[in-house]
Amino acid sequence: MSNRIDELVTEALQSYAVLAVIAVLLGAVLVPPAIGATTGPDGQVAVVTIDETITGGTAEQTVRALDDVRENDSIDAVVLRVDSGGGGVAGSEAQYRAVKRLAETKPVMTSVRTMAASGAYYTILPSETIYAQPSSMVGHVGVIASYASTDGVPASMTSGPDKATGATVDEYRAQLETLKQSFVGTVMDERGEEISLSRTEISQAKIYTGAAAVENGYADEIGDLETAVEAAAEAAGLDSYETTYRNPASLSNILGLLTSEGETTGTPFHTPGVDRVRYLALWGEPSAIGNSTEVIIDEG
């Protein structure tokens, strides 16, 4: 004996339309919990480490990583974990511009570990908030020009009067001043009303402890990496989040150790056999400053 309800159900299940509606409803009910079970948190905070002396090679890798992070929609906010005394001016500028692009699309915070000096400080300027520890060293806004030794290529073996040196001493002084104007101007523009130092005081190129940097506006708050990650997540509106870590220049550091063959050059700015002008946004002087040159890419 057939039940009327069973007949109706059987008939309905033979309809493609009814089956489609049921499938859609079932999918809507079952899939979101399944997604939640596999992805967990609401979003992701990426921590990008910059802890090397900035050369053209490391900057290229860091910029690529920052661009990847920017284009990755599954990453909601970024923390720059910085521990660097800077390096080449061109590499520092490239990193600054990459962070600037990144900050246009998602929240960027910075956590300064031991130091964010010179070119490293340049890099983090677009950050929404700069967290430093009391003992961190922050600032040192300026450029070092090192000049090629005069015993390089004999002038008689060049095709033009400035081919060996690249420019006159006066012109190099002007170039140095141009780079300084750019660096100091960027600090003034990015830190805006946060900074209490005058342009002249910034030009002194002093480095400050994290405690002092928070007072004078080079940094924003005292805090560590966890503070910065939480702030980044909050800025991105994440209730829960996972943290992923990237250290883009670590590969080049490892390769550098493997290829050094036990020789210690004392500086990453080294091109044997070549003397030329270098501009460095660096805390401290490279030990082989008179006889070496920054790695190729950024002074190209």
Binding site: V31, E71, R97, A145, Y147, Q204
Partner: protein, 315 residues
Amino acid sequence: MKGSKIASRVGFFALVLVIVSGLAVVPANTGSSGDDAVNISVQSHQPENILVGAPTETGDVDLAATNGSSHVVFDLSHGNNLDRGAVDPLVSALVAQDHTVSFYAGDRTSSINDSLRRADAFVVIAPQEGYTPAERAGLEAFTNAGGRLLLAGEPPSQGSALGSIFGLSTSMGSPLPLNGIAAPYGLSFGDGYVYDLERYDTNYRNVYAAPQGSFGDASVTVHEATTVRGGEVILETADSATLSSDREDGPYPVAARSGNVIAVGDASIFDSEWVQRNDNEAFVGEVLTFLTAADKAPGEPAPPEPAGPTEPPTR
């Protein structure tokens, strides 16, 4: 219902379920958005906001005509950090006015005092070695007899990459040997360098200075200059200048006169690299005019009486 019909409906159901699930899942796992064009504008990277040009350097050293011809001797006998070629502009200007120029490099047959007897003016630039008491006594006798003396020095080595690499006219020596011969005239050279972070000529170590009194009204640029204390100030920095050793603001005297002696805390201003910078050539011309206006008694200073054992040089 036949088995084939059931199978087709189960397949359809599964297909819809997979599509719906897929639509829900795919956005969550999408990585790159592919939209990577982010244009940024950095005003402090724009050339019109930051570009600094190298200064033009023009003008010739010119000194006032005098009644007679003077003999100007440059000292090269004390390890002076002085290249004869670098002072060509000065030599040319002096010779053009019929003055005589010679360089005393020291030899076994004559002393510096022998040169002083033939000289009307004596120029000491960046000596690295001290002067003996006899030499200092000779210099004093020389100026007392109307001879004129120019002392020019630099601050001690600044020890920076910039200073060591520029090399051409920086870190030309210690002021200590100069202080030994400047002291009897009440003059002394400092141990720091002046810089200016507000108003400067291309670099903060190139400081603007203004001549005082009869030494003109030109705008002078001194390069890594040290201070000169005592005497009558003839060249002074702007008040925005700072002294490296104590970080106190200026103005600072960087050249002074005491009787027949002029002390300049910047040797590089007499170097061809800097003599045409700003209006430096005008100030240098005034200094040469001062030197060639000497009215020295012929043959002075007289040879000293024979003395005891030679005393060591004093710094």
